[in-house]
Symmetry: C2
Subunit: 188 residues, 2 copies
Amino acid sequence: MKSGTKSKPEDLQKPANRGELVGRCLAAFIGAGTLDLSLDQLSGVVGVSKRMLVHYFGDRENLEEQAMSLLEKGLRAQFSSGSLPAGLTPMAAVMALWEQTTAPKSRGVLLLTMDLCRRAWNGSERARSFYDEQQRLWTDLLLNFLPSAEAANDFLQIFQGAALVYLVTGESNPGRSALQRWVSRQAK
Amino acid sequence: MKSGTKSKPEDLQKPANRGELVGRCLAAFIGAGTLDLSLDQLSGVVGVSKRMLVHYFGDRENLEEQAMSLLEKGLRAQFSSGSLPAGLTPMAAVMALWEQTTAPKSRGVLLLTMDLCRRAWNGSERARSFYDEQQRLWTDLLLNFLPSAEAANDFLQIFQGAALVYLVTGESNPGRSALQRWVSRQAK
DNA sequence: AAGTACATGTACCACATGGTACATCGCGGA
DNA sequence: TCCGCGATGTACCATGTGGTACATGTACTT
């Protein structure tokens, strides 16, 4: 048991800076668009020695876990069911999501999310659970605007394809058009 | 100039085994689902010492280039414009492509292709050109069955999304359903 | 003032990686 | 027969990586 000095807080293993440190690490991962930053690189970006990273987090796996959890928290806040105005048409909602996703400042998060997809299909259970949570989150959100779970499902696949194309080509128009056409045919 | 012993063939830099060796390396990459195999791992799988890999290919970059080119060649053969029976309905053509892509034996190629996508969005020019060629190839093929370039474009995005979902979840049904619904609404 | 627990720096280590140096082998041609 | 050149093995190296050892500083409690 490493913690347990009864003086200040109770069960916070590492008192103060750690929370903020996780945030800075996550920012670094987002900046790099991947979790595959070496501790040395990370320490450079974050401004904390590798020594201290290991000190606070124990090992790399735990560091990644903390960063992923924090990212999940952020995305949960951003895409929870109530986070789009209720009266939006399906088209407006879909377009809002697309613009948000392809905004330049979102690029790092998108890359990181794709990186986690890769980890998931390469067998990482943690990455898989991250993926599943995102799917749930988006499904809940979408059900406010789309008529059925099937529609939400189809939408998610198109959206992921569009995002992939966007990342590779840098073009957001093909994705936008595909989504628009899908939504308008959806209305039938 | 390393070649040029006028005796046997002319411009084959490395006479005999090299071609076959590329094939075995590509098979190893496909088996691993990524180009990121170390020379040591590769030499183990392929049954050729790292020493000889470097001997034949000069360096890793060239090895990767040879393997990518060979993969392109294989995919060109598999998905060139005439490679699906001409009379197929759009639905049948789309389903055929999906079954082919999600067949267990295709898994490695699919993974490798996705790995190249990642390299492309991380800035690899070679991977990007690979991606572009695949897009062209599939577009040509699809135009035999779909009414417009727009439709082909939309299809490709859905298909890539479906493939991504398939890789992460292992389920081919969501993708199949999404594609079916898309095609049938396409007919309008 | 002394003790205790955390904070931090400097070296260091084992291991994997891509690649090289050097020596040897074996075979076809003069 | 000997030469020369590709094929091959063994050892080696520089670099990057995650992580540890050890020593020291710092601050708060008693």
